[in-house]
Symmetry: D2
Subunit: 480 residues, 4 copies
């Protein structure tokens, strides 16, 4: 399914630590490029040139923000952090671009964050009462303040990170760069992925997904464990794990189903394999006599292949997706859509005409896109259309770093399976059973809150996206 | 295989003729967008507002050249022509952007051309001797002159087109807009595709491929026949066919194998079906015991599926292609490539690790890209790699509108099959047999000159790409 | 007075011819920069690298069109031509940018033109009947065709220029570059200025004004004479003068009054000196008792100083002009203007408060700007305002390369002196007497058609600005 | 003298408070435009739409940063603040753009600042020790923290401003916007100007200079007094003056001589009048027999006129300054300069040839520009050149908001008058006597530290421009 009609991962992060100066910005560029699917709103790279930070951040995708001229402006360096971000729309949120750079009493720090702090509201209130001012509306600035507060009390940045973690609830995979070190850490639940590897020249590369390691030619070493802090410094690589107690392992299962790139491997499980398995489960659970299985590009293709392989129904190429669609593309109007324009996706008539088609997609959000795709197939001559969805229905919002939304916008909260099938025009409809999710990854330590409503942390007090746009005290003193 | 390591189609054309004024520029935009794969160098749209031409053309892809602001600047109109172009590199060739607009004694004309005039050199020499001046280095300006010359002698633009055709040799699918009419025509050999259809509101849409008709919601009517001239005017649709004698039908077979979009149908044959067939032939001709068949995205996928279906070897998803790569992307250096960066294509390890892999691609040009891809698979753990190519080897340049090059740059001219297999590191290699090409389309009326060296027109006198950059008389008078 | 409320010169031209390759594009850049006042709509430079032309042209001012990156893209060369242009508005007239480059039977040619061909309509009709096609709507393309036609008949480009001149009527100062030569020429009346000089390294520089020679450090040699053709080639500098008969010398007097830069010297007369003289004549002709003389920046300052010197009334600085106003500035609305915003010009209250002010400007076009300026002074406390204009009233359009307009838009055609004074709110008003114009230059060989209605050539048949936007034959065959 | 070879004012500020919503961004645009001479590095506008802040800030001049599209994006509002800034070079200092917007416990605040806090280093150290983090390297963020700290302790923003002022030393004219109020304040010494006025519709406008009031059609009311805080709110206009004790009045005298626009009036003294007076003093102090007095455009013109009027030597227009020079202009190289290119300034030969010239400029910084200008006049034929400078020699750096530099870069610290005259090639040289400065403004309450070394506050501990680029504790713990 297309990014624009889909839930979004909110970030991807990158860090590099090298034994010697090199063109580290270039590695950051290629790694962020490989992580682009995790965030297209803004991006940034901060290079550490012997203690001096050189930074460029802006709204836009990696290849737009970093011209070759811009990239050439970076000096060589040994350490760097980078970030891609999906956030709220609007031209003026440059302040929210990451990595966030701050100056504090002990020096400089650049911070890249993927996740969502679920007690951000409470932390911010507390910080503001002690005189803090906020330039952004992101929870990353809250992490920066907590790190700074701890840094004042202890002799090293890594201890500051370790001491800060008990205050932070929710999801966070972070990369922190100081004048001389790179620290990466993952929250005790391990909601978001984070791994690291090494290049032949000794440079350590940390990233949200393994595909970013491969983009820069680094060999994967391992995933960061939930609650672990890894420090890269002149003293080599050090790991601290035993500091924040034991929590349930809660890797986001939707990373496997949709967010991550199929060529990435998360905690030992190839994403592509998990998707093939989802297709297999769908074939096992909802068999149907049909002539061809097609996936919705790009994220439905793997599960469609899994379905075909298990069921024996031939796999087919059902759609051509226009690969030139970029940020500047002018989307068709509602009228144009109604009148049948087929800009982004066009069915391959020879695949589906006169056929009973099994259509596999990864999810249904509001149902409008799915309805449109079913209609496209119908117009191209499909006789029957059986929709199979490689995730369970969404019924609850996500508080851990994606934009899975309020119940009002989730079609599965408002309608029964039969109603949804009718709404989207499918002859039959099957969702992945929630109790089969563990088959995808081979264990039970994953977060399924968006499918089950069972959260592994306290649910945030204030969950409005605009919670930091208005003063926290607004209903309070009556003056501002 | 990737566009950047590939031969290029040189153009796509578009025309619209409506019973009433409407936002015709928007249809042109979406249609050119669907034809973007035929040319990414430059594009343009000319809208006819009751005899006044409004034009915008520039270097770049459709979504870059036409911002919503730019698109909104067009008035409504009844007629429009559009063009996407692949040409030589260099920033300063704006003069070669199409549609070409010219003013002549009888009025205005806008001209969009896909193909290559093989007697351009001779025609240009003749025109220059009669005082013609040339602003561009494209053969389209030559067509414009010939049309103008004929237009002076006859009472209508369509007669001018008909009378001009006997002078023009080679490949041309053209759309010509005058103050009141749209004329589309295809050369007598029919080298390049051209079709037209109609929208529900009566608007006629002409385009190089059916995918562009579908992009604007038009119903396909039929392909323009070789040598046919179709006139859209207040008098309705008229066709003239009997004016240029009978020539061999020579539709470019490589349109089916690579250039065209798989969801297009050319002269009744679905492109996707032709590619499945190519895969099938490969499976039949070069069987091998293997564990998985993978295609090189995007153009190798259809033939890979055809191979898998026929052979029974499972189809797999072997590569992830980064879909964010745009024009502004900074390509990795030779060094970075050597050190194993995997930016554009990354193998899916879980698909190929420990497997005997059949790798299907559409062609081999110089062999370097194929070698790189084979190496990627090897590094990802493939045990054996059997390369199957869904076209015959290139041995001769194309003079009909693509950039298939001089013999020096074609690996198959310099090396035997065994040598090529060794060069690219494949365990075995098989090309589509040239005598099976007719199976792809079900007839023999196609051009296979690039595979056979047998041309259906006289071979041009001067075939240098720069032939119009230097004065024709250069070796002549010695003064300029 | 401000450029935006003023008549415009339509072009400035540049040529260079050097004994050896050097960074000639850079000289062109600085020279065009110095000529920017002659045209801000578009600009272009063509560099000749041993017979290969490298060109960049675009809409916009010199410093916008030529980034340092763009400028660095030019190779070294021995010959170059350049152009700045003021033309009609509209984003899509890139086709009209100059220098115009054409390819003809004998080679390449780049052409830069300042002026206006008064028989363009007739020439174009004739050319079109012989099969010519036109890409632009400028008369420069007509010159290019005539040159090409002659070039076919004779052995050298310079002879082609000489033979073409009898066909061309009206105003033209041109620079023509071939593969090996630079030719500059001025029409037999000498309507527009043209001069040349030489740098210390031997490079010849030709330009519309001497300020461009000074910008590149060239020593002025002399003005090109009316009807003269000067050829720069390996054979040195050659001049041909005796080929087009004797015509009345008709240098545009408004070049001295407004168009040219005050630091330029045209035909031996410093522009600044001519303007001082105009102020002196005004003081002599319309004396008035006053406290201060102020000029409207920038073009009224010289005459104001001349008035002050002759009259003995102190010269004052009456206005500050915002020097940051560029192309992208958002002009105030009519409402904002009415409510007193003072964006571009602000009076210096301490200069005029409580004073009797003599206000000197170079011309009155529609009267609205003059009225606004008088009101500004009044609001700043001026007791009396006596307006003196350093040109006679405009009563006739210009056909020789400026946009002095139809009679309907010229306030002096519609109203008496008393009426105009009242309209603009002046206590008194005096225009430069037409019979004193010869005092500015010390001779009678100047064109005063815009002030007198006496033209030195036949008045053009069709003078509409859009005359080439519609087909010439439009009222003819009824079909296009 | 030209901006690029000159000392720079570091900022200009703007505020608006209206009884009703209107297009306040547009007023901000025109006012900042009028203040552009105070800072061309970056600019920004924050509009308050009923408590919601809408902001756009970027590097570049007003007309570049605010396209009409960008300006139209602002909603209507009642309150706004704006800023133009000159700062250090470098593309990546977007973080330092103002107005600075911060969120604190009691709400939002936008802050625009002109000046320099001389105890910034100490304040920042103190804030950092309490856990503050800094996103920018400007002292404005320090003011924001101090305001926030005070705001937490008191019931209103205006009291926070009043209570913050005793902590802040040095120069600051500020505009602070909260959800409901606009507060403007000037430091107790009154180093930088600040005034306010009112439009016919009741809107209050505050700005650094009166020219900005005039740009939006506001009537000047009065200057803010040193140490005064003015509050605009629903309760009307309130002034608080008696809160920070009495300090010496220290308006920057160089505002009159160079920084401010000549049409502005500061504390009752017209800037133009002060400059005429400076010229008069020079004429009185250093008379010389000469033929013409010329000023270096633009800032030397007023004093030149004052010199001419007092001395009786005729005033002349000695130079033409190219008015098209913008941000994107490519400056000539050192070589080109040496070879005599005259791009920005060109002498008017007819004014100076064969003459004894008095050349008036506002200051000499390093001497190179002055030397170049003298040489230009010499090459244009001037017989004698007597340089008169309308300020005393710079001998000490400025700590109050300009970039007057370290002693090493000030020619007058290194050389005697005679040496400087020789260096720049002048026949004689005279600077404005320091003890005549009071004549310019008619009182003694001005800052002359850059000319005398006498500072009205403690001299800052650390005055390096990069003092906030490195951690304050750097020499401390040895780890960061």
């Amino acid at each position: 399914m297309d990014m624009n009609d889909h839930f979004h991962e909110e970030c991807g992060i990158f860090g590099a630590y090298s034994p010697a100066d090199y063109d580290v910005a270039r590695d950051a560029y290629y790694a962020l490029y490989a992580l682009q699917h995790r965030g297209q709103e803004s991006c940034g790279i901060v290079v550490n040139e012997d203690g001096i930070f050189h930074s460029h951040k802006d709204l836009g995708q990696v290849s737009m923000v970093f011209s070759s001229e811009e990239l050439a402006r970076y000096p060589k360096g040994r350490i760097a952090v980078g970030h891609v971000r999906y956030g709220t729309t609007g031209a003026n949120n440059r302040n929210n671009c990451q990595p966030m750079e701050v100056n504090h009493q002990k020096g400089k720090m650049a911070l890249a964050h993927n996740g969502n702090i679920s007690n951000a509201f409470e932390l911010r209130r507390e910080l503001e009462l002690s005189g803090a001012i906020f330039h952004s509306t992101s929870d990353t600035e809250i992490i920066a303040y907590i790190l700074t507060r701890e840094r004042l009390k202890c002799p090293s940045i890594e201890e500051a990170v370790i001491n800060a973690m008990p205050y932070l609830e929710g999801a966070y995979s972070i990369a922190v760069m100081s004048a001389a070190k790179l620290i990466i850490a993952r929250d005790p639940h391990g909601f978001r992925p984070l791994c690291f590897g090494q290049k032949a020249d000794g440079t350590y590369i940390a990233a949200s997904e393994t595909c970013a390691l491969e983009a820069v030619g680094a060999r994967y070493i391992r995933d960061v464990e939930p609650g672990e802090v890894v420090v890269f410094s002149d003293g080599g690589v050090q790991s601290v794990r035993e500091h924040c107690g034991t929590k349930r392992h809660s890797i986001c299962i939707f990373e496997y189903i949709y967010f991550a790139r199929p060529d990435s491997v998360i905690e030992g499980v190839p994403v592509h394999a998990a998707r093939l398995k989802a297709g297999e489960i769908l074939a096992r659970t909802y068999p149907v006599i049909a002539d061809v299985v097609v996936g919705v590009p790009d994220s439905g293709l793997d599960a469609a292949l899994g379905y075909a392989r298990y069921s024996g129904v031939p796999y087919g190429i059902g759609f051509i997706k226009n690969k030139y669609i970029g940020r500047t593309f002018i989307s068709p109007s509602q009228d144009e859509r109604a009148s049948g324009v087929r800009i982004k996706l066009n069915p391959v008539r020879s695949t589906v005409e006169g056929k009973r088609v099994i259509l596999v997609d990864d999810s249904i959000v509001r149902g409008t896109t799915s309805g449109r795709i079913v209609r496209l197939l119908r117009e191209a001559g499909a006789k029957e259309i059986h929709v199979r969805i490689s995730s369970p229905p969404f019924i609850s919002p996500c508080y851990y770093g994606t934009d899975i939304d309020t119940k009002e916008n989730l079609v599965a909260c408002q309608h029964s399976l039969t109603e949804i099938a009718k709404m989207i025009g499918a002859d039959s409809l099957g969702y992945l059973p929630i109790d089969s999710l563990s088959e995808l990854v081979g264990h039970n330590g994953y977060c399924h809150a968006c499918f089950s409503g069972q959260y592994d942390t306290a649910v945030p007090e204030n969950t409005s996206k605009e919670r930091f746009e208005r003063p926290l005290s607004e209903s309070g003193t009556g003056e501002a």
